[in-house]
Symmetry: C2
Subunit: 364 residues, 2 copies
C-alpha cells in the first residue's frame, strides 16, 4: 500500500484538517499568543500544527536549553518558500535555541545524483548566505554537510540498521531501495545527533517541517525509542503551510515561473508578480466590484499576509477592501511589488555583508 | 535463488576446484616460488587461489607501493584459524605493504547485535595483541574501527547506495535487509578507502580471504568501477583454506572444543589435541600399521603441515611414516603438542611485550 504522504512526492496538500486527524498532530493556535514576539508567519498561522511542542514552549519559558534542527536540499534558487523556514530558524535562535542546519548532500547525491562540489556551492551561495542575510548568527549554530560531519554522527547512523526492518521501512515509505534507506538513516541521525553526549545531550529539540515530512518525524521518534545506548527525548515538530507558487501549487526551485528568488532583481520580481501571480480577482471589474476577490486562492494576497505586510491594521484593511471588491488585483499586485522591491534591495545589501560571516559557519 | 556461497553462512567448502571454476579464480601455485621467503602456510599451499595477484607481485618485485586490507569480526577467542590470516598480514607488511586492519564492529553491532564497548575490548585484547605478538608493527599499519574512523571513509560509504540496486544486492547475497546492506557498504569502503586521495591514492591492494568472502570481493570490484569520482584499481584477492576445527569442520570461536586459542595454556592445548583432535588413524594398531593414516582428514597432521613443522625434511618424514602406518596417532599428537606448547609459551611472552605497543596502533 502506498502511504498517503510521500516525502519524496510533490507535497501538495488539500486538506490539512484531515491530515492532522490521521497522524495525530495537534493545532498550534494556542502557542501563538504564548510565544514571545513571534515572526509574522507564526503570528498569522502559517505554522498550524505540532507534536510535543509543549516541551519546547516550556524550555523557552523557563530559559532551559533546547535545540532546533532543520535540513536543506541544496538544489536551485533560494526562494520565498525557503525564507519561511529561514524565518523560523532565526526566530528559534533568537529565543535561545542551539540551531542545527544540515545540508542534505548525501541524500541529494544518492537520490538526485548531483555531484558533491556543486551541492556544496549551492548550499553556501544560495542557502547559507541567505540565512545569514535573514538573521542567522554563527553563535549557537551548527551548519554542517551530511558528507562531512563528525565521527559520533556517523557512528549514530551505523547504529540504526538493527533498529528497523525492511517491512517497517516499506510500510512507511512505500519503497525500499539502497538510496532511500541511506537517505532516511542520515535524516534520522540529523534529527537525533544533537542529543548525543558528544553534542548537547538529551534535550528538547524541535524540527519545523512541511507535513509531507511527517513520516520521517514519526519514524525517527520510533527509532529513537529503540536505541537503548542513549536516552533521546522524542523530538518535537511543527508543521507549516507550503509557500504557494506564483501560479498556485507549490513553489518549486525547478520552475522559475513558480518562485520569487531572494536574488531576483526588484524588476524581475515585479514582473513575475504582475505576470504570473495567480489572482483571486474576478473576470471583469464590474463582477469584481460586486463579488470581491477570492482571497483563499490569491497568491499576492497570501504573500502579503504571511510575509510582507507586518501591520495588522493595514492587513485587515487589505483583506476587507480586496475581499469586498473595493481594491483591484492590479492594486494589490502593485502594493506587494513595492514591498517586495524594498525587501529585495535591502536583502541584497544584507547578502553582501553576509558573505563575510560565511567562514565563521564553515570553520566549525 | 540462494547463491552458492554465502558470506554469512558456515563456510565449509567441499570442492575448491569447482569453486575456482565457477567464480573465475586462478591457482596461486605459480606465485609460491616467486614470492620472497613466504611463510609456511603460503609455502605449503594453504593460499590456493587469487584474483589479479599479478599486480601485487609486480609491486613487490619492483618495490612499488602496495597495500593489504583485512577485516576482523571481534567475537570470542583468537585461535589458530585467525593466526593463519595474521601470518599473511605480517608477511605482506614485511614485504612493504601498507596494512589496513579493520575491526568490523559496525557489522557485529548490527548483524550480531553486540555492544560497541565489548567489541572494542575483544578487538584489542584478543586480536590486536595477538597480531602484535605475531609480528605486526605500527609503522605502515592502519588499525581502525568501522565505528570510529575518518570522514573521507564515511563519505565514501555515503557514495555507494546510488551505485547499486535492490535487485543486484539480492542476486549476490540472497537477501536484502537494512543490517546486511549497511554491513556490505562498510565492507566495500573498508576495501576501497585505502585508495582515496586522503589515504594512499590508487594503488594495488590485496585482500586475503576465505572463499566464502568472494561475493564481497566481486561486488566491491564492480562497484569500484562505477564510482567515477576516483580511479580505483580493482582490488586483488587471495583465497586461503579454512583452518580445520579440532574435530574437523571449521574452527569456530563459538565452540571451544573446535579451536586452540593463542591464549590457551600449554596444558589446555595439549589436552585438547589429545582428546579432541580428529584422527586419520585406523581403529586398531594392526589395521593402522597395515593401511597407514588417512592424512587428508587428520587434524593434528594438518596443523603440523600448515602451521608448526617448518622443516620440510621432517615434514616429509612424518608424511611418510604416518601415511604408511609406521607412526601412530598418539605419536603425532604428542609431537604436535610439544611444538604447540613451545609456541604457546613463547607467544605468551610476546603477548606481554605486545601490550606496550597497543597505544601506538590506537593513537592514529
Amino acid at each position: 500500500m502506498k502511504p498517503s504522504i510521500d516525502p519524496w512526492g510533490k507535497g501538495e496538500v488539500k486538506d490539512y484538517g484531515r491530515l492532522m486527524e490521521e497522524f495525530g498532530l495537534r493545532p498550534f493556535d494556542d502557542f501563538i499568543k504564548k510565544l514571545p514576539d513571534p515572526p509574522l508567519l507564526i503570528r498569522r498561522g502559517a505554522v498550524y500544527a505540532h507534536r510535543d511542542f509543549e516541551r519546547i514552549h516550556s524550555a523557552i519559558k523557563s530559559k532551559k536549553p533546547f535545540a532546533m534542527m532543520t535540513g536543506l536540499m541544496p538544489s536551485g534558487k533560494f526562494h520565498l518558500g525557503h525564507m519561511m523556514v529561514a524565518q523560523q530558524i532565526v526566530y528559534y535562535q533568537s529565543l535561545g535555541a542551539h540551531v542545527f542546519v544540515c545540508v542534505a548532500d548525501v541524500e541529494a547525491y544518492n537520490v538526485r545524483r548531483m555531484p558533491f562540489d556543486e551541492l556544496r556551492r549551492t548550499a553556501i551561495e544560495e542557502y547559507l548566505i541567505n540565512y545569514i542575510a535573514l538573521g542567522l548568527r554563527p553563535k549557537s549554530c551548527t551548519f554542517y554537510f551530511q558528507s562531512a560531519h563528525t565521527v559520533p554522527y556517523y557512528r549514530l547512523i551505523s547504529m540504526l540498521p538493527r533498529r528497523t526492518t525492511q517491512n517497517e521501512f516499506e510500510a512507511i515509505y512505500g519503497t525500499f531501495d539502497p538510496q532511500k534507506l541511506i537517505s532516511v538513516f542520515y535524516q534520522i541521525a540529523d534529527i537525533l545527533h544533537p542529543q548525543l553526549p558528544d553534542y548537547l545531550g538529551p534535550l528538547p529539540l524541535v524540527v519545523p517541517v512541511g507535513v509531507d515530512q511527517d513520516p520521517h518525524i514519526r519514524y525517527t521518534r520510533d527509532i529513537a525509542s529503540r536505541i537503548n545506548e542513549f536516552r533521546f527525548i522524542p523530538p518535537s515538530s511543527t508543521y507549516h503551510k507550503f509557500a504557494k507558487g506564483l501560479q498556485g501549487g507549490k513553489m518549486s526551485s525547478s520552475d522559475p515561473t513558480s518562485y520569487i528568488a531572494l536574488t531576483d532583481t526588484p524588476e524581475e520580481a515585479r514582473k513575475k508578480i504582475m505576470k504570473h501571480a495567480f489572482s483571486g480577482g474576478r473576470d471583469t471589474v464590474e463582477e469584481h466590484r460586486k463579488l470581491g476577490a477570492n482571497l483563499s486562492v490569491d497568491v499576492s494576497y497570501e504573500y502579503l499576509y504571511y510575509l510582507f505586510e507586518e501591520d495588522d491594521r493595514k492587513m485587515k484593511k487589505i483583506t476587507e477592501d480586496y475581499g469586498s471588491g473595493k481594491m483591484l488585483t492590479g492594486e494589490v499586485k502593485k502594493f506587494l511589488s513595492e514591498k517586495l522591491e524594498k525587501f529585495l534591495i535591502r536583502h541584497r545589501e544584507k547578502r553582501e555583508k553576509a558573505i563575510d560571516l560565511v567562514p565563521k559557519f564553515l570553520e566549525k
